[in-house]
């Protein structure tokens, strides 16, 4: 069972408290009616599904109830970080450089 850090509760808690909520940073288009069928399809269904670093969402459903974002490696299942909803996609390479 994964351990997930809720950025709102600021606690690391077992997966059983959370619900996976799909790929992150797929914003609902501001004007759906202006999208082509292909563009709308991309929003509805096309997903990165990477083998490696994945930006995804979780909801702390049996806790504070908030949606938040996470960066997790889909091969090792290890979380790199979690961050609040609404924040932009973190620049991982910049962060890595800063750490080194």
């Amino acid at each position: 069972m994964l351990l997930i850090h809720c950025p709102y509760c600021e606690e690391t808690l077992p997966e059983a408290e959370f619900a996976y909520a799909g790929e992150a940073h797929i914003a609902r288009p501001a004007d759906p009616m202006a999208m082509s069928d292909e563009e709308w399809r991309d929003f509805l269904f096309i997903r990165s599904n990477p083998r490696g670093t994945h930006f995804e969402r979780w909801r702390h459903i049996h806790g504070c109830g908030r949606f938040f974002n996470a960066v997790r490696d889909t091969v090792t299942d290890k979380f790199q970080m979690t961050y609040k909803a609404g924040l932009p996609r973190p620049d991982l390479s910049a962060m890595k450089e800063a750490a080194e």
């Binding site: 399809r41 269904f45 997903r47 599904n49 083998r51 091969v75």
Partner: protein, 417 residues
Amino acid sequence: MTHFSAMSLLKNALTGHKNWREQWPDSQPKAEYDVIIVGAGGHGLGAAYYLAKQHGITRVAVIDKGWLGGGNTGRNTTIVRSNYLYDESARLYDHALDLWDDLSQDLNYNVMYSKRGVMMLAHNVHDVQSFQRHIHSNRLNGVDNRWLTPEQAKAFCPPLDISDRRRYPVMGAALQMRAGTARHDAVAWGYARGAAARGVDIIQNCAVTAIRRGPDGAVTGVETSKGFIRAKKVAVSAAGNTSVVLQSAGLRMPLESYPLQALVSEPVKPIFPCVVMSNSVHAYISQSDKGELVIGSGTDQYVSYSQRGGLPLIEHTVAAICEVFPIFRRMRMLRKWGGIVDVTPDRSPILGKLPVPGLYVNCGWGTGGFKATPGAGHLLAWTVAKDEPHPINAPFTLERFTTGRLIDEAAAAAVAH
């Protein structure tokens, strides 16, 4: 290819089995092929076999980053059935069942296809309505599926508990008799042997790192860990790794890859005569020819390529089995494992041409790909050979996600199947 039979077995037994030949050679890649198939699972190997056998296309390579049959083909719970709701699905899976019927004889390899029956349990009014809808649709599509009362279900499968004491009492069941199980490894090996005998190169431990396209956008070949291999036609049959492979061709897919776990019990003498699936309690079970209870359920909730999954899912699955079959609570779990399943938004596969000339895909089978193995192989071969889908796989396009013509089996059953 040595012919397998009781006679050849006896002859070889008398000579110490020294004369058996390798079932497929360990091939190294040539510079060019007419068709490259990415993924040496049951579907990919099947496609190679049918390309060679039915379309006379033998300059074919099946390439896999690991050992053939080492992905989902070697990890599934071996269920074969075709009792799907929509006409398109019923046709797709029943076509596979037709091929399963003669597969052992066709391949001269015993895939141990056992038509012992698949029974789906109904636990509430919605289940009853849903299964009746399946049964009527199947019947009129020529697919066998019939309704059983709880008493009939128990007579067919004695370990089933149909008492009112259960949290989700059985209200009836839908039974497809032509369905059952098959030996998963044998299917991969049988197709590999048959394809290799017809000149197909099976190249193992060779990762495809990219699909290359020419200036006109058409496929020119694949980059691999053993170098570049030219081909004008590339068919991707890589299950959970499809998104990764196709990304190099500039394609993004409506796929997500999830862990799917399964487990077996210690082997016991025959006790479970058929396959039973329960959507409401999320578990399904059969007994292998070796005596082990083979048990599976749904995917873990998060996208993953780790092939692991968590203990809680196993706990729920085992609890569900013990709930429906209380006699098994003292059985022991022997081993559990996981695979990676690629899931589409409507839980139906994508089998056809891609918007890149020369590129074809067979993916999105989710948790239900094994049953379709011969059919998928046959249809992929057809599509590649003729550069047009067969009528049976024609509806399973990538385009359906744009136009809205989904084939949503899960919506109807309200479950991951």
